[in-house]
Amino acid sequence: MSVATQAGPATARSRPAVRRRPSRRRRLIGLAFAAPAIAYLAVFQMFPMLYGLYLSFTSYSPLDRGAPRFVGLGNYAALAGSAEFLQSVGVTVQFVAEVLPFAVGIALGLALLANRRVRGIGLWRAGLFLPRIVPLTAVSLVWLWLYSPDGWFNSLLADAGLRPHTWLLDEDTALHAVAVMRVWKALGGNMVLFLAGLQAIPKTLYEAAALDGAGAWARFRHVTLPGLRPVMVYVITVNIVYLAQSFAEIFILTGGGPLGSTTTTNFLIYQQAFQNNQFGSASAMAFVLFALIFAFSFVAMRGMGRRS
């Protein structure tokens, strides 16, 4: 029996097998390629999560010489009865609920406008996108002036014969004022996501709808909106996750005031941890916030999935 006849069928049969089950050497190389990322994420992502969970069951101040003291569910129980914390949760929910519809709805409108073949459309898009690439601290400083007694908004009011208003210093308007700024900041990023979604909808669907005599509204309702559903789910979820963690704009515009009316949970966590040195209690707040964000984005995703 010659070697050649034996080798022929054997290699033919083993080829797909090789691809499915790579050699030991190749698996080791794969592990080596991934090892730095795995090690890093284990130390700087996964371990901090577990460590934070542990801290949330302790009383711990970084100024103490001692180690964290285990207090069981004590922090969580205290949060349930803390007016300050419950107010911050209310503020966070209200803030997300105020910003989300406008940040998504207006962005969708802008995307529809910007999704046209016009000369210079790139410049319009760039202009609308600009707030996205500017640091939140920088834009917050401008808006701080816009809302100030000498600012643009109050000068417009004066021109209209109305009395000026200290938007950020009034308990009733401060959160709305921050929300307006945040809508403005979020529009560009959301618009770009919607634009990508619009451009992914096949042109043939519109042509078919037009042939069936569908008007502009019918085409929007039955082609555009269903085609945008995956992007819509993504945009809403990402916005919830980001908005529920608002911090920099609060820090600059209001410092959490007046009377805690703009103290979001994330801002309270910062104060509790790095101004009051209560790491245990702040960690417990962080996990409650985590649960809230998870629940809200879950509900949003499920809700969007069902509405079909």
Binding site: R19, R27, I29, G30, F33, A34, P36, A37, I38, Y40, L41, F44, Q45, P48, M49, Y51, G52, L55, L113, R116, W124, A126, G127, L130, P131, I133, V134, P135, L136, T137, A138, V139, L141, V142, W143, L144, W145, D150, G151, W152, L193, L195, V231, V241, A244, Q245, F247, A248, F251, I252, N266, Y270, A273, F274, A282, S283, F287, L289, F290, F294
Partner: protein, 283 residues
């Protein structure tokens, strides 16, 4: 455009969106007397460059921009190297347990910053042999108030590992097999065959890594304190002290900070926007 109404709407929306920037630039050139007035004017009556020199001298903004550039460069390079290598391994060089590890990595993208903030602060403070620490990470300040400390939470983004894996899954296995038949080692297969095809991925990961540092305010606020280590986000917030704002220098500083990224953005608008929307289409 057939209907002029749409163009008018587009122009109105753009002008409204850009108004705050108009005021930012205008105020950057206004002397102090013009900033604090009841009737703000769209253009400065007596333009001055004084605010810019105040921002650069008192605000130490030049140093802050340099600091930011260093931190951003480290983070972008680390992500482009390690997130790509890991994503490639998960897609093309599967190893036992890799699937579970990948799922664990992806699941961490949902975790809010607040959850890991305090532990990361303690870890940064406890890095062994740094900042006067002993081998057990005790006794000193670790990497607090250092540029290295600023990079720590952003070095490898879990989302970037995810994007890299998805991208490499979309490239044919046969490309690598052909290289291996020709006797190429795994590193050569990655470097010479797959990486040249992954330029859009590199651009996306670079943009994502950059924006992660660019958008971050909380971490710099927590880990840095001195003027020597602060980055632009923090330096800008320093114009606000006890409710008083030096608006002129603050706006001049904002303009200086925005100009470089604006230039990068305008010249690479397509890849910039494509990069930022990538997650939306693929995720």
């Amino acid at each position: 455009m057939r209907r002029p109404g749409a163009l008018v709407a587009l122009a109105t929306a753009t002008i409204l969106v850009l108004m705050p920037f108009w005021w930012m630039v205008s105020m950057a050139f206004k002397p102090e007397a013009e900033v604090f007035t009841q009737e703000p004017r769209l253009l400065p009556a007596q333009p001055t460059l004084g605010n810019f020199s105040v921002a650069l001298d008192d605000g130490n903004l030049g140093r802050a921009m340099l600091n930011f550039a260093i931190v951003a460069l480290i983070v972008v390079v680390a992500n482009c190297v390690f997130a790509l290598l890991a994503g490639y391994a998960f897609a093309k060089l599967p190893f036992p347990g890799g699937g579970a590890v990948f799922l664990a990595i992806v699941s961490t993208t949902m975790v809010p910053v607040a959850v890991t903030l305090i532990p990361l602060f303690l870890i940064t403070k406890g890095i062994p042999l740094a900042g006067g620490n002993d081998l057990l990470g005790q006794g000193g300040s670790g990497l607090l108030d250092t540029l290295a400390g600023l990079t720590l939470p952003h070095l490898i983004g879990p989302l970037n590992v995810f994007l890299a894996r998805q991208f490499f899954l979309g490239l044919a296995d046969e490309l690598g097999e052909a290289g291996r038949v020709d006797g190429a080692g795994e590193l050569t297969v990655f470097w010479r065959i797959y990486l040249p095809l992954a330029k859009p991925l590199v651009a996306t990961v670079a943009v994502f890594a950059f924006t992660a540092v660019w958008d971050d305010f909380l971490w710099p606020l927590v880990v840095t304190g001195s003027a020597e280590t602060q980055t632009v986000q923090l330096a800008l917030s320093r114009f606000l002290t006890g409710g008083n704002v030096a608006y002129g220098p603050a706006m001049a500083g904002s303009v200086l900070v925005i100009l470089p990224i604006l230039a990068v953005f305008l010249f690479n608008q397509r890849s910039f926007i494509a990069g930022l929307s990538e997650g939306g289409v693929k995720g």
